[in-house]
């Protein structure tokens, strides 16, 4: 199995999927003229007060029940952020297969930094 090929494929699928969801979200908002209770003019504004600070997981899932374009965009962005994490996990698999101890350790440190900074750090300081 060629790991470069698999890695490239997973990254491509991840990026295409996330961008497709984001684009679908934008189209939904344009078609409906709103998302959740926000009007189009509020959403498409330079200084819009609608931003990621209120978009936690339960908010995003709730948005799907009334087909909110915003939830599609947020889900797309979350998938996008997970692509580098997956990529690093695959690098770990590669170094484990090669039995390269130094690089197994280094990759684990990178993965720790990523997961800690994305999942735990925000709730610690917010």
């Amino acid at each position: 199995m060629d790991l470069d090929y698999v890695t490239g494929m997973i990254m491509r699928i991840g990026v295409i999927l996330s961008i497709a969801l984001v684009a679908l979200g934008v189209i939904l908002i344009l078609v409906e003229g709103h998302a959740c209770s926000y009007s189009e003019s509020v959403l498409f504004s330079r200084t819009s007060y609608v931003n990621s600070s209120i978009a936690n997981l339960s908010y995003i899932i709730k948005g799907f029940t009334n087909i909110s374009g915003l939830s599609f965009i947020y889900l797309g962005l979350i998938i996008l952020v997970s692509v580098p994490i997956l990529r690093t996990a695959l690098a770990l698999a590669y170094f484990a297969y090669e039995k390269n101890k130094l690089y197994i350790i280094l990759t684990i440190i990178v993965l720790f930094n990523l997961v800690f900074a994305i999942l735990f750090l925000p709730s610690i300081i917010k």
Binding site: I19, L30, L80, L102, Y103, I109, N113
Partner: protein, 285 residues
């Protein structure tokens, strides 16, 4: 100032251009995207850097998936240096929350301008050599297994290389990661300085490997950016779609193109935007 759908299209177009140039140079789309968004589209710097951070992940992942085929990325060098860039990104993104919550935005403009101007000199200087002069391997070459080779399509030959001075390189990478977390960019310029100058790697290896590192570094900062609300979904949507399409066109040309012409265009643009960002930060422009 534009609003509504014309604003969305304007941001989309700016991002397309930034993504194209960013991928050709390995500097990442964000370096010129944030100045264009803040100076010309009137986007607040928080949202501009948040959108840039997101699209930086898109470009990096998209471009890296294309480079993988060509076997130019050096996974070991990239991974070992990511230890430094991700640590820097954590420090940088924590710093920026302090800056924005104390309304010190002008600092970000000025620092951004300095980073842009600071990218000019290495970009000119580097133009002379396609492949660096060999310097003798040191202890870190062996310890971090930094030997590699790739096939250069422009030169039509196989290039063997090795990296040196890992520790000094990693220090530059920590700063690159810090700047990335602070400004929401990939800070490819600093990554290129570290790998090209300090570690003496060939430009194509530097460009592709730094592009690979940029996504992981940017993803590290994204959690903080998300909960602090620096990501406006529609602006981030426009930039990630635009930058990705631009970068896709860019990667189709990178492997075949000689490096000189791109750098000249980019250098002028960097200097111009850098001066404008500093003036904005100082309240003059």
């Amino acid at each position: 100032m534009l609003t509504g759908i014309p604003l969305f299209l304007s941001v989309l177009f700016s991002s397309l251009l930034a993504g194209y140039l960013g991928s050709l140079t390995g500097l990442g789309g964000g370096t010129i995207l944030v100045p264009i968004l803040t100076l010309y589209d009137g986007i607040p710097i928080e949202y501009a850097t948040g959108a840039s951070l997101i699209s930086t992940i898109a470009t990096s992942s998209g471009a890296a998936s294309a480079y993988l085929k060509d076997k130019i990325i050096n996974l070991k060098i990239g991974t070992s240096l990511q230890v430094a860039t991700t640590s820097g990104a954590i420090a940088g993104s924590l710093t920026v929350t302090y800056i924005y919550s104390h309304h010190l935005e002008p600092i970000i403009y000025v620092v951004f301008g300095i980073v842009l101007l600071g990218s000019v000199y290495p970009t000119i200087k580097r133009g002379k050599f396609e492949i660096p002069k060999n310097s003798d391997p040191d202890w870190s070459t062996k310890f971090f297994q930094m030997h590699g080779e790739y096939y250069d399509m422009a030169l039509q030959k196989k290039v063997e290389y090795w990296g040196v001075r890992w520790v000094q390189g990693a220090l530059v990478m920590f700063v690159a990661g810090y700047v990335s977390g602070l400004l929401g960019i990939g800070s490819g310029a600093l990554k290129v300085i570290g790998m090209d100058w300090v570690m003496n790697l060939p430009i194509k290896v530097t460009t592709t490997t730094s592009n690979f590192m940029i996504g992981v570094t940017a993803a590290t900062s994204s959690g903080i950016y998300w909960v602090f609300g620096y990501i406006q979904p529609l602006i981030a949507a426009a930039t990630s779609i635009g930058v990705l399409i631009g970068a896709f066109i860019g990667t189709k040309t990178l492997v075949k193109l000689k490096n000189k012409r791109i750098r000249t265009i980019f250098t002028i643009l960097l200097a111009f935007l850098g001066i404008q960002m500093i003036l904005r930060g100082l309240g003059i422009y």
